[in-house]
Symmetry: C2
Subunit: 117 residues, 2 copies
DNA sequence: TTGCGCGATGTCGGATTTGACATATAGTTA
DNA sequence: TAACTATATGTCAAATCCGACATCGCGCAA
């Protein structure tokens, strides 16, 4: 069914069911934040397991130590591409990266705010 | 073991085995290209399944129709973040996105054109 | 103590990516 | 035929992200 036709049906009072389970923008944002965190943690785990310094990994992907530090700190300024690049450079396979995506987000705890004084 | 110590051992002729299976930069690049393609294909599949236009999806993530088109064309100048944003906006879960990562790159076949008349 | 390696954090000029817009083509409907 | 919708493609100024660099604290070894 074309969208134009669907719109006509809906305008006529029909509900075209299928799956219009589209997430709100904030829900998407939240997923991205969680994902960035999960990837950054995975990167640190993998790097430490290889016993290499941030500087060494940085050289591998032609980046800099400070940027690797920001990646591992889940700094919102670092792109997902850079995080993926880092993971692959530690020898991660697509499958291993996939598991980071599907895992139930390691921490669960969200920004523990301090109580009001 | 600290990296400095490892270096000393290696300088002394030792091989510190563990897993130094670090990929070359071009191998990483190749993985990223494949991944971008897989994500763009998944996005198109999901959008079409929902019977929504590129314009509609664009509004959902506050982007533009032309950018969605570029995303689905796996244009190298669209970011992974935008691709992920698009997928999540179609209702994809982390698990579903993970499956895109782990799948053996949805085949090699490129744009099945119709035969010449 | 001094010196060194590692990592965290901030800054900055330049590179990249963005949404918006224009425009072209193709398919559909009137 | 014209009008409308969906998609592809190119451009551009503004926003974002980059590598590089400086600097700081920490832990360890000389």
């Amino acid at each position: 069914m074309k969208e134009s036709k669907r719109k006509k049906l809906e305008a006529a009072g029909w509900r075209v069911g299928s799956a219009d389970e589209l997430l709100g923008l904030s829900a998407v944002e939240s997923l991205l934040v969680d994902l960035r965190l999960a990837l950054s943690q995975a990167l640190r785990r993998r790097r430490e397991k290889l016993h290499i310094s941030q500087r060494t990994l940085a050289e591998r992907i032609k980046s800099s130590q400070s940027r690797i530090a920001k990646m591992e700190a889940a700094d919102p300024e670092v792109s997902f591409e850079l995080l993926l690049r880092g993971l692959f450079a530690t020898g991660a396979t697509r499958r291993e990266v996939a598991s980071v995506f599907s895992e139930p987000t390691t921490t669960a705890k969200r920004k523990p705010r301090q109580a009001a004084s």
